[in-house]
């Protein structure tokens, strides 16, 4: 499976090596320094370029995805440093756990900006946390490259410091909505988790469906829920019947939901299609968790389709696989490219000053694992500002059990499609 999946994409690292020993030591020494807050640190000779990473590493945040992004960031720093670093200085990344909580995000960003004096911050996974962090970077004028936050608000706020290299809901939702209309679905059920990600996703898709006059019904559930029997039975009993079941949920909920939906004979069936949004369906642990329930399942893929892979994509996928025994998801690629983006921006403008980095990103023209990166400076629409407008996205549908998402047929959009159909009904 490729790694360029989605904001929720993750992979099955079996946390044994979650934190290599070397890291622990490094963190421990950093911690020792941090316990003496009042005293400044003496400047060193070969001062590294410090970058700050923010993201969830513990509950209630999306810790699984956060960890993968952290791994990928570390790989990027290693790769850059092997090539001699940037401006002759090595890259050093400081990681901050935000737990998916706004106040933690604020504290993390404050620490990175003020205490650690990083040149730039990147990462994050929760839009609500990113919105809190943005206020801090805006206050201290530190560039912030948001990786995996899909809320349009992040870029729409128009802060000059804030960039985004992931997709955003307006892009994703339009794609999904267009596909639903093109594939001819007549009655959709949208079920999402009741949190910032789920609600923003739902609103976008609902807007597109309303615009196309496609009937739909909205459902939400607690993000911690894992039992969906009653819910699925209710959907199944709906009159008129649903022909499309769209789900957005974190792993812990999406897998039981997929299994229930299949075992209760709701979707994917000849009558009803199942679309699992959010990236769980391209996770390495996906098939282990859902088994045959995943056959004919549809999901989006925010990575570069395999046919469009460049050398960097191939090299990164291979290296990630070798190191962590799994394919990197889209969020990991975003994190990997984000470090490179920042390094390129610093290199091109020859300085780590905020204005230099911002200028460097605005004028960036660089090919990474997810294609050619450029950041828009247009404010029309507002969310386009500092947004990676060409962020890749496509829709795939599995046609075999245990299929790699790399090999699954791409059904949408037409420019990437590998099969002539838009949707294949499961055969009985």
């Amino acid at each position: 499976m490729t790694g360029e999946h989605t904001k929720r994409g993750s992979s099955g690292i079996n946390g044994k090596r979650a934190l290599p020993r070397r890291d622990v030591l490094a963190l421990a020494s950093a911690g020792a320094a941090a316990t003496l807050p009042v005293f400044g640190r003496p400047a060193r000779a070969a001062e590294p370029v410090k970058l700050g990473w923010v993201g969830p590493l513990s509950p209630p945040g999306g810790y699984a995805e956060g960890l993968l992004m952290k791994y990928a960031s570390a790989m990027a720093a290693d790769d850059i440093n092997k090539q001699g670093g940037v401006l002759g200085r090595p890259i050093e990344i400081l990681y901050q756990d935000t737990r998916g909580m706004a106040a933690e995000g604020t504290a993390a960003a404050e620490r990175l900006c003020v205490q650690d004096k990083v040149a730039a911050i990147f990462g994050e996974f929760h839009s609500s946390v990113a919105l809190a962090e943005m206020e801090v970077v805006h206050k201290y004028n530190v560039p912030f490259l948001a990786c995996d936050v899909w809320s349009q608000e992040v870029t729409a706020k128009g802060y000059p410091q804030v960039f985004r290299n992931s997709i955003t809901f307006p892009l994703l939702d339009v794609m999904i909505g267009d596909w639903i209309v093109a594939a001819g679905f007549k009655n959709a059920a949208l079920l999402c988790e009741q949190d910032d990600i789920g609600l923003a996703w739902r609103k976008g898709v609902a807007d597109v469906l309303t615009a196309h006059k496609t009937p739909f019904q909205l459902y939400t559930a607690d993000p911690q829920a894992t039992d969906f029997t009653a819910q699925v039975l209710r959907l199944k009993a709906n009159n008129p019947p649903f022909d499309l079941f769209l789900v957005l949920y974190g792993e812990a909920g999406a897998y039981p939901m997929t299994r229930e939906s299949h075992s209760l004979g709701f979707a994917p069936t000849a009558n009803t299609a199942l679309f699992v949004s959010g990236g769980e369906a391209v996770d390495p642990t996906f098939w282990k968790n859902v088994g045959k329930a995943g056959l004919w399942l549809i999901c989006e893929n925010v990575g570069l389709p395999k046919s469009a892979w460049n050398d960097k994509t191939k090299a990164f996928v291979a290296a990630f696989n070798a190191k962590y025994k799994t394919d990197p998801p889209g969020s990991a690629m975003e994190a990997y490219d984000a470090v490179w983006n920042l390094a390129e921006a610093i290199k091109n403008s020859g300085s780590t000053a905020p204005e230099a980095i911002i200028h460097g990103l605005e004028t960036l023209h660089w090919v990474g694992t997810r294609g050619l990166y450029t950041y828009s400076t247009s404010k029309d629409p507002a969310w386009a500002y500092h947004q990676y407008m060409d962020a890749p996205e496509s829709i795939l549908q599995y046609n075999a059990q245990d299929q790699s998402s790399f090999d699954a047929p791409i059904v949408w959009p037409k420019k990437y499609a590998t099969v002539p159909y838009l949707y294949k009904k499961p055969t009985a």
Binding site: Y63, Y95, S128, A200
Partner: protein, 318 residues
């Protein structure tokens, strides 16, 4: 107050006033958050430690204070200071209501009832996202338009001092005596003529109002208000802060809250291990220093000072 207390208080006051100039903006931010928690933990302490009502839903009132101020400011364009005041009133009134509802409960029933109240509130905030912003958060306007946190710092310092000193005065008064009498033995308190119902509700209202004040400050300071303000995790953190400080001395609790907040932030560099370590520290503290770490330390300092020849008059906060 004994002389060494006064001396120490003066020293602390000086230190507090000079603090922003001794540290960088990050640790100033940590201090501000620590003081917000200090208000919450101290008010919880008044309720649980002194009035004997072990609430596990106190953070709900932080949310009520914050969301009242935030929603009023965002939806109705009410000025923030007015909104914060409304938040305090709302929290105190709802707190009194909750206090009235659980008059007949005690011990674990009270703890779980209040926890349920705060969970229901949190779920409601999450679900009614048209009004509350839901899990995506409510963007609250700033209180000050300054480039630094200095105004926030001095405001929260003032609020902390006023609320904690106010609560200490309450506790030193006959109300405080009645709170403790009710905590110790409700039946005996009634037989002694204490209006148990009135004072139980009063304790709830005071503690909730103060928690609402903390919430009202928190909302514009962080700028975004999310439902996890009222999560059980937050509640546990507040309880931990109070216990580390020694529940039955408010200055101890304040010190405990600030110390725990600094510790949680200092552990930040440990990444994923941070909360593991935090849990472990909590376990070890509870297991081996049950009366908290700070209150016994403070008492030791005071005893030392007293030994220096201070003539003592009985204090009430033993």
């Amino acid at each position: 107050m004994r002389a060494p207390d006064i001396l120490l208080s003066l020293l602390l006051a000086g230190l507090a006033a000079a603090f922003p100039f001794l540290v960088n903006a990050y640790w100033l931010h940590v201090m501000i958050i620590g003081m917000i928690y200090a208000i919450i933990a101290a008010s919880w302490s008044l309720l649980a430690g002194f009035a004997g009502q072990f609430s596990f839903g106190h953070v709900a009132f932080v949310a009520i204070g914050g969301y009242t101020a935030g929603i009023l400011a965002v939806s109705l364009h009410v000025p923030l200071p007015l909104g914060m005041l409304a938040g305090i009133v709302a929290a105190a009134l709802i707190g009194a209501g909750v206090g009235w509802t659980c008059l007949r409960m005690s011990g674990p029933y009270l703890a779980i009832f209040t926890m349920a109240f705060s969970e229901v509130l949190r779920i409601t905030i999450v679900t009614e996202n048209e009004i509350t912003g839901g899990p995506g958060g409510l963007n609250v306007p700033q209180l000050f338009h300054a480039q630094t946190d200095l105004p926030y710092y001095y405001l929260i310092l003032a609020l902390l001092v006023v609320s904690v000193v106010g609560m200490m005065l309450v506790l030193a008064s006959r109300w405080g005596l009645f709170f403790r009498a009710i905590r110790e033995n409700e039946q005996a308190a009634a037989a002694a003529g204490v209006k148990v119902t009135r004072f139980r509700i009063l304790a709830c209202a005071i503690a909730s109002g103060v928690a609402g004040l903390a919430g009202g400050f928190y909302a514009p300071y962080i700028g975004i208000l999310t439902p996890d303000v009222a999560s059980q995790d937050q509640m546990g953190l507040v309880v931990a802060m109070a216990i580390v400080g020694g529940v039955e001395t408010l200055p101890g609790v304040v010190a405990g809250a600030i110390a725990v907040e600094f510790m949680v932030e200092a552990l930040r560099s440990y990444g994923q291990w941070r909360l593991v370590l935090f849990g472990l520290l909590l376990l070890l503290t509870m297991r081996f220093a049950r009366n908290g770490l700070l209150a016994p330390g403070w008492l030791a300092i005071r005893r030392l000072a007293v030994l220096q020849g201070q003539r003592l008059i009985r204090g009430t906060a033993d």
